[in-house]
Assembly symmetry: C2
Homo-oligomer: 324 residues x 2
DNA sequence: CTACTTTATGACAACCATTACACAGGATCT
DNA sequence: AGATCCTGTGTAATGGTTGTCATAAAGTAG
């Protein structure tokens, strides 16, 4: 491996001069500098990231921690992060699984964005205590080195519930996320508040998992119990899709007529559903971009306010009016 | 930051003894070792990855380079890689975009798995010349430091074509990937060979992009040209989905009756299509696992043979028999 | 022409961990 | 008892880069 030492030798200057030249310091004459640069090019020099990271105590890399690589939500989210990160001179890496956590405390990355319930808050707080910078997208955590960029879950769930209520639905199923999910709990809270505001609504909670399988399981229960048209609020779209498929395949019930279905997330997949799924939309791209921005500010030592991502309702034929 | 120096001071031993103890070397007495370990724990010591990488000239991290974070194929593929990597003591990071390429030559990662046409072969070969280890999944490259794990594209395309031909289809559209795509070219080659083996087949090539939009665009053309039932081979499922939706929404043509559609990849999404899409299947998980295995062997200095991933046909109601 | 800045460059320590080698002291052997 | 071998520990070099401080040369002022 060719190092600045080799360049220094060949150029007949000291290593510090090479370092200055390479980093574009104005301390070096243009002449010397361009000579050094030419030699570096000629020797095919590439700096060693480990050495630089060791010395500078920064790697210019941001890590994103996801539960798995399968989620439907992630595409735009990550693109949003990457765009901001790149324009600010950072690279983005995506990791998954407990093993990879080490990259944060071992200082391989300058900061972390967390979207993984399996990454325990206790662990995160420990790292924050060690002065590592973190942005969480899936929980609330109060620490000077941790920032949150959260979805406005409550507003979203409220919008969804009001949409169903306005259309006269009196019997509802709510399919939740996995126990302990922050998003699920927040959405559920708003659901209950919405239900408290009106009378005469019969409702049943079904425990889901935020995955298609949860929707399928819920569908089976709904089909088995079916008497009259019902409304279903799946706390995310992926379950809504699973539910929808299961209903279509294993019953003669029609979405939008006997089963009035609304989801949450507006994932790309819903664009290909028949009928169009009513859901709650928000800009994933913006969410990611904001998360990256906040993290970079944290890394820079700025104090930043927690941010919130606003949501809107997307109407769809999957929800019709209740007939009396 | 607490370093081994701090531990050494507190334990009253030298830094080398601490290092040996931390790395479980048998050179240190159990007594000394456990005393050191206790102090390390107490001081909340975490090793510095940069320092270790610098010295050991390895980071135990594998990088995967993808075109973007949106692809449907990636989930299982990455999971397969991660599993193998983790069991062999490596961490997996996923990167995208030209900026992140630097991680390979700068020795931040021990090797790279490439699934990104935008990562130029020329650049890869240059890195390989510098002794970096690479596994490519999307092209053929002959270099001692580069290994390939490729899909059996030809077999897949042949299976698909034979499936259509056996069912009596005489008029076909082939929707390709983007120009320059290795997978697309290989599949296309087999398509042409299959067509050469039979007479009387009228076929039209439509340039696609391996994304839904490509399928939608193709659908428009097919609808506009429509006279008699036709068969369509989309060179990947994502385009097939786009095509399918476009046809269903903007024409009265029925998939499996007037439009006989087959895809390639068997992505999870097709499970939710009506009718079930005929396609070509292969284990993404295995593909990823094999890629990671090969890369780790390369890093270890072993010479490895290129591998091939076998494919099978998945029948589906999206393809029916041609009626005379 | 001396004294004081300014400027370009060099020497060197530091970042943190690993590891080859040296060394001291005890155990083992003749 | 002297020679030899282990064994546990320390010393110091190493990896590549950055950046502080020192120094030499050139420039400016008095």
């Amino acid at each position: 491996m060719v190092s600045i030492k080799d360049i220094a030798k060949k150029a007949g200057v000291s290593i510090s001069t090479v370092s200055y030249a390479l980093n574009g310091s104005s301390k070096v004459t243009d002449e010397t500098s361009s000579r050094i640069l030419a030699i570096a090019q000629e020797l095919n020099y590439i700096p060693n990231a480990a050495a630089r990271t060791l010395k500078k105590r920064e790697s210019k890399i941001i890590g994103v921690f996801l539960t798995d690589f399968k989620g439907e939500v992630y595409g735009d989210l990550l693109d949003g992060m990457k765009e901001v990160a790149n324009t600010q001179g950072y690279d983005l890496i995506v990791c998954s699984g407990k093993q990879s956590h080490r990259m944060l405390p071992e200082r391989m990355i300058d900061g972390a964005i967390i979207l993984d319930q399996a990454f325990e808050s206790e662990e995160l707080l420990e790292y924050a205590d060690r002065n590592h910078k973190i942005v969480v997208l899936d929980r609330e955590l109060d620490h000077k080195n941790i920032n949150q960029v959260l979805l406005d879950n409550k507003a979203g769930a409220t919008l969804a519930m009001e949409y169903l209520i306005e259309r006269g639905h009196q019997k509802m199923y709510i399919v939740t996320g996995p126990p302990g999910s922050f998003d699920s709990m927040q959405r559920m809270k708003a659901v209950k508040q919405a239900l408290d505001r009106v009378d005469h609504i019969e409702w049943i909670e079904i425990e889901g998992d935020f995955k298609k399988s949860g929707g399928e399981k819920a569908a089976k229960q709904i089909i088995a119990d079916y008497k009259d048209p019902v409304a279903v609020f799946c706390l995310n779209d992926e379950m809504a899709i699973g539910l929808c498929n299961q209903i279509t395949e294993n019953s003669s019930l029609v979405i939008g007529e006997q089963i009035h279905l609304i989801g949450f997330d507006n994932i790309e997949l819903t664009r290909y559903m028949q009928p169009r799924l009513a859901t709650i939309d928000y800009s994933k791209r913006k969410w990611g971009a904001l998360a990256a921005e906040q993290l970079i500010k944290l890394i820079a030592g700025d104090t930043v306010e927690n941010e919130r991502i606003y949501v809107t309702l997307v109407e769809g034929e999957s929800v019709g009016y209740a007939v009396k």
